[in-house]
């Protein structure tokens, strides 16, 4: 009982959903690709929960996908993981199987 009431209280349907704010607020993890020179690509993972240690995740990614990568600090978006190569689907699977995020909270962008 009390739970449902709390749920009601925690969500204000009339709150202003600014375009900028919901970049973070929505809680989606965005995985994107970007083309570099030639046939090289970059994968970026944006919106991982802040309580996770991005460096450790990066380490796991690098080992799992056998690629290099870095953590980039973005003013608006916080920490973003960058990986070499297109690992979008693998990242989604990895995050889901490790229980770090549910699949429907992960958005894969690009082609």
């Amino acid at each position: 009982m009390s739970e449902t009431i709390q749920n009601l209280a925690s969500y204000d349907p009339f709150a202003d959903t600014g375009e900028e704010s919901d970049l973070k607020v929505q809680g989606y993890i965005h995985i994107r690709v970007q083309q570099r020179n030639g046939r090289k690509t970059l994968t970026t993972v944006q919106g991982l929960p802040a309580d996770l240690d991005q460096k450790r995740i990066l380490k796991a990614f690098k080992k799992e996908f056998a690629c290099n990568g870095t953590v980039v600090q973005d003013e608006d978006l916080g920490e973003v993981i960058q990986l070499q190569g297109d690992h979008r689907v693998k990242i989604q699977q990895f995050l889901a199987s490790e229980g770090l995020a549910s699949k429907d909270k992960i958005k894969i962008h690009g082609f």
Partner: protein
Amino acid sequence: MSLHDEKPEQVEAENFDFGLKKKKKKKAVPDFEEVAAAETETAAPEASNGAEAGEGDEDAVPEGDDAGNMFADLKKKKKKKKVTLEGEEPAQEEGAEGTKSEAFDFGEKKKKKKRRPDLAEFEAQLREGQTGEDGAEEEGTETSGAKKEGDDTWQGSNRDYTYNELLSRVFKILRQNNPELVGDKKRYTIAPPQVMKEGTKKSVFANVVDICKRMHRQPDHVIQYLFAELGTTGSIDGSQRLVIKGRFQQKQIENVLKHYFMEYVTCKTCKSADTILTKENRLFFLQCESCGSTRTVSAIKTGFMAQTRDARKAARANA
């Protein structure tokens, strides 16, 4: 045999299984043999159409004393019914094919597709039913020999209307009063994007403007989405082609367009693509022209863009 006698039998038969069509044929000529046959049939309800139809014919021929001119009718009816039966399957196959080909166009969403074939099929049946007799796979019609198309055949007879007859009546009236509904089975197809390479680092998307027009969306919006999803930039050249940085294949662009279509064009409620996108204080609304529903759609966000070598170079040059 009077019509009244027939009625209860039919009802019973219907209770047994859904082989309604076949049953009905037989019902028209009710005799004891037949009832027996029906019973055996229910014992083995999977009997094939052909066999049953044949049975019905044979039953009919030796039977007919009281219903002399009825017979001619009956036979005709049987034939017609067979036609509908056969016609039915192709229609369904078509539907399946439709869904397959759908993968290609941007009409997206299998569900929508499925609906359409259904409707089309139903209409086909309707049409068939009307020229031949009343609505799709009807029983009934034992009485009149003279049915004009679209007549409510139960009128003037003392039998009851059937569900199917009523259903087709409803659809007929609906169509008569709303002619615009008839044309609405068009599929929302979009020409495939024409994408080619330009040099080694750029791609050209030649028919953006055309595609945007067909989707009734501003090219700017579509292009913004393309760039955001592909993580790149580009520009429109003199002949209205979109030049995109990076190498992209037609398939890839098509994928992104499909997502765009689902996100910003199709109505989630009725799957119609007949929608308007409006912006009201920072929020985008998608309003459906078919069903009138409105939903908000998220603004296009570019998200994180990794710094490229070019950007670094530019930054250094500026510094």
